[in-house]
Amino acid sequence: MTVRTDARPDAVVVGVDGEIDGLTAPRLRAAIDEAYDQLDGRPLVVDLTDVTFLGSPGLQVLLDSAREAVHHRGFETLRIVVDHARPVVRPIELTGLDAVLTLFHTVTDALDG
């Protein structure tokens, strides 16, 4: 898994590539925590478009991070981007997290809010 943080004028985008499991999930969590600290009023977008595997440790990070949003200044809901890739969409739907998380199909949609 690789994580890349892109601080744009309109948002901070954390892009993830590869597999999110028990081995890699803590690195995603750390990247999201760091991104929260540099938001300065901008929304945080987590782009999972290039994720090839999402297991329960990754789901837990998404859930914890979404809950974490309320503790930051100028509170904005955590925006998560997933396309139609089954290995990512399926675990989110099976656990009912699609009803809890704020999901978008593209980064552009997420930036439009």
Binding site: G22, G55, S56, Q60, R86, L94
Partner: protein, 155 residues
């Protein structure tokens, strides 16, 4: 062509059974996913069902490593022993097939109610991805048996 044939038309060898012994490490689920993906591809498993089985087995191995053997990111744990994964393809009347995957560890079992965090999502995920899930936990380890949904014959 028998559904249990160990050679496909291209002559590429696919083991009838899957057997792997994994170390109790955080990388074990990733190793299990890679080997299982190759084995299921060799058996021409439909993509959707393949993804579901990979997710279920990954969760089971992850439970064995993190809960059975207590391995986590914050402390170094003496190697508690291996996680064993065994898979077979079982033919059904009409040529349909199921995969039966067994994940065994020799660590300690905690009932789901005693576990917080990832495990809360892990067991429901495993259940949703297969036809049938059994978890047999004792003081000497845990055996998880995952029985897949039936898939069409491999042509």
């Amino acid at each position: 062509m028998s559904p249990l044939s160990d050679h496909d038309r291209s002559g590429t060898h696919t083991d009838v059974e899957l057997r792997m012994t994994l170390p109790a490490e955080l990388a074990a689920p990733s190793l299990a996913r890679e080997r299982l993906a190759r084995w299921l591809s060799g058996h021409k498993w439909p993509a959707g069902q393949r993804d579901d089985l990979i997710l279920a087995v990954s969760e089971a191995v992850s439970n064995s490593v993190e809960h059975g053997y207590g391995v986590d990111h914050n402390e170094v744990v003496e190697s508690g022993g291996p996680v064993e994964v065994h898979g077979i393809v079982v033919p059904e009347p009409g040529g349909r097939r199921r995969a039966v995957l067994t994940i065994v560890d020799h660590g300690s079992w905690l009932p789901p109610s005693a576990v917080r965090g990832n495990r809360r999502h892990g067991l429901p995920l495993m259940e949703a991805c297969v036809e049938d899930l059994t978890v047999d936990g004792t003081d000497h380890g845990t055996t998880v048996v995952l029985r897949s949904r039936a898939v069409p014959p491999s042509l």
